[in-house]
Symmetry: C3
Subunit: 353 residues, 3 copies
């Protein structure tokens, strides 16, 4: 957050609706902290989409890759990943590497000064003393937001990117999902008039919530929530979609719904959030994509998954060209390169290249 | 230590007074290993002070920062931090990054070959085979000194920087404290004729001991040791100061002593060194700086702390311009850049820039 | 492995003899994956020997070191070291640094997505999505080979280097050992007509097995296996040597065999592979090199050890010029630089420099 930007205390801040918070997370028309998906309006999504494609293109030549790696070569980033997540960690690490940013990580609190009884606020101030960017995944609910708030109260704030805290949103995952959807649908007229089915433990899934917020920026799409009744999408999201005139429906019949979908977004059972026994109810097999389903899947459709997966998608399916989840992984890296380039204001130079 | 430099065995070496050791830690007039504060005389402190300010200035422009990052871009450093300390670790990491040094770290012995029963001497020789610099914090008393000694016996020694071992000194912390004091006192005639009060667990505090050694290089200063009687500064330091004609006194009345101080150096209770129950005696509240103390603090005074802090300084105090501890953190990075630049002999080029 | 290269499934693949596998691990005449020593024929060993010497020479000047660090500066490598090994880890890290490759590491499975129940195949695909090279040491037998196989089945394979998996071979160790032998014997006519004694726990030692495979590429050498009877070299290796007309013999009398050796390759007791009590039989003192042995060692001979060592070689011996084990460590780094340069096809540019 911009230095001394916020006239509120923490209690007042958290009471604000996301839509109110957005302007404090923006400095001179560009995103400063990346905390939740509602920060990304259509104009910004379009900008990042073009930027990401441009970066991928430039990086294909040795000369281009060299040039990209000079853009932010004097910047230093801290990857503060207290909640384990190899994939997201490596994706951000690689994105920083592409731009020449030097990265250090703290991947366990043991190595942290907190053992000497330091407050986590002081730990944050220490980070902002040495680094130009903080990318964090933390078990504590709302950690990234608090980090942004705390640093905003100091004379030396730095941008904070939420790589997933507690059961929060996971905004950069949503960005890469949107990118993948748009790229996949380019031959078929883009996102407009498409049916996107989200499947699995929607109640506790972080990525599907964030994705819904972004999808509200696009016209004429239909969202189908497919899950066991007890694992349906939260009311808040459904109301949000209704407010934004996004058509949505619910079903617990996966197989029967496959033929209508233009995109199927599979997710895993979030049983790390379980309270004992809870998930007996959930029959994973009923919400898994099996090889035979390829026959009833539209030829133009795409199959996505945020990963890591368990058995929701049979590995045999990977070979089908409609399986997009490994491309999502690569897209995630490029999307994060674009986002960081935007944060530091080198996006213009990239587009002009 | 310079290759095969020392004519003594370990027992003989450790028997030498620090003042004797210094010459073996110096090669062609420049520091080779950084083990303890007594290595830094007034001339060297002045040199590092000018160098540090120069580096901060150069780094302010993108062009300058780029230039700095080329100076040692083919060097490799090992950060061997077996004793956790995020702040010091990140400070050295950042300092290396500023100079373009590539850094790898070992932050836990689990990942070390020692599990296969390798002697720590062989581990050191391995480090010196791959790296150009060893920066270490280790629970073992005198580890950095032993590392320097062991490597000095080999054909391929490398510089060793003591980032704090056991209850040893913490020389680079003392360097940054001196730098902060001098910078803070520039408007008011420098360190000469100033009263510096050190507060807290002086008996076990590493930083205050190192700082005392460096302060002996300056004229007409007064040191006030403020602590509970049972936690007073060690006799060795007090005798050292007396030998060097530094005026010092002791008190256990913190609040009453605030008005006379030009600098107050707060430290925390070092209870990780406790033997059971010991610290009942210590009433932290009596040796804490509270917001109301700002009223009785000289307008020109500075308030310092090596961090991490607990409750010795109320967070409300942070906003006061006399609160220097967050600037200390930044100064620490710049001081370490200067020190490493000196070790590798690029300080001349920086001053000529 | 080259994308979709292998027409077999895993069971069929593992059934192939190493000699059959080699061609699938080679792409356009250069090594793609480094899995076992049998991949290295005489021509390749000669090439790497020249290349390694060239690299060492170039790196001696600042200008040369700078040039080397640009060769692969846009590449990213993953060091996946689930089995702790500081030495090998740091050696590869340094080798990458010399070539300007950016390196990230995963040194413990805790930090891995596997905690969320991801299959290790998916973890590998994630690595190949972000990185250009995978260097791995893993407790699982044959892990590196499986990684190469799995990635070979995908659209985006990357080279895999086996840094030691389970009780497998340790091919890059063998490369550095051969390099050290050749360099040491340059004044005395090279490897031809030399007697190489391997000492210690040959039954379970990884490095001696790999070294034997490489030695079969050289004419007129004699290998002496010196160990307690219960810890002799495996039949498979002895048959391999016989097939390749390499003279070998066995003895359990270490001291008596020293005078005949041109090179003595000491190894430690591999008791981490012990089943209870097993190693009572093994009297380490009978297979240790003591200072007095220097008197009966040929003046032109060399004493080697893969390290880490315990008591197999007295530290006093280190000072003798015939003690090569610390030079092996350095050679290991340079050999790995050469190998990686070859993998990425920049070896030609280095030789032309």
């Amino acid at each position: 957050m911009k230095s001394q930007a916020v006239p509120f205390n923490w209690a007042q801040w958290t009471a604000l609706p996301e839509s109110e918070k957005v302007k404090y997370l923006t400095v001179e028309g560009r995103v400063y902290d990346v905390l939740f998906s509602q920060q990304f309006n259509r104009a910004l999504l379009d900008h990042l989409y073009v930027l990401t494609n441009r970066i991928r293109l430039i990086s294909k030549t040795r000369e281009g890759a060299d040039w990209l790696s000079t853009l932010l070569s004097t910047k230093k980033a801290m990857l503060y990943f207290i909640q384990p997540s190899t994939r997201t960690f490596l994706s951000f690490w690689s994105a920083c590497a592409v731009l020449g940013i030097r990265v250090v990580d703290v991947r366990s609190t043991e190595t942290s000064s907190e053992v000497k009884g330091e407050s986590s606020d002081d730990t944050l101030r220490t980070f902002s003393s040495y680094f130009d960017l903080l990318i964090t995944r933390h078990p504590e609910q709302g950690y990234a937001e608090r980090a942004s708030f705390i640093l905003g109260k100091t004379r030396r704030p730095i941008p904070v990117i939420n790589a997933g805290s507690g059961k929060d949103q996971h905004p950069t995952q949503a960005l890469l999902d949107i990118f993948t959807l748009r790229r996949s649908f380019e031959p078929t007229g883009g996102l407009r008039d498409k049916t996107i089915m989200m499947v699995g433990d929607l109640r506790r899934g972080r990525t599907v919530r964030s994705l819904c917020y972004l999808l509200a920026n696009f016209e004429d799409i239909r969202i189908v929530f497919c899950s066991p009744k007890a694992y349906g999408m939260g009311e808040d999201i459904k109301q949000f979609l209704t407010r934004h005139k996004v058509a949505w429906s619910e079903t617990d019949r996966f197989e029967a719904s496959i033929p209508d979908a233009d995109a199927i977004y599979m997710t895993r059972l979030q049983d790390e959030h379980d309270v004992a026994g809870e998930t007996h109810a959930y029959d994973v097999s009923q919400f898994s994509f099996r090889p035979e389903h390829l026959k009833i899947l539209k030829p133009s459709a795409v199959l996505m998954h945020p990963l890591p997966r368990r058995t929701e998608i049979d590995e045999e399916v990977d070979r089908d060209p409609r399986a997009m989840y490994w491309r999502q992984v690569r897209n995630g890296m490029w999307t994060r390169v674009a986002l960081i380039a935007h944060l530091f204001g080198v996006d213009r130079r990239i587009l002009d290249k």
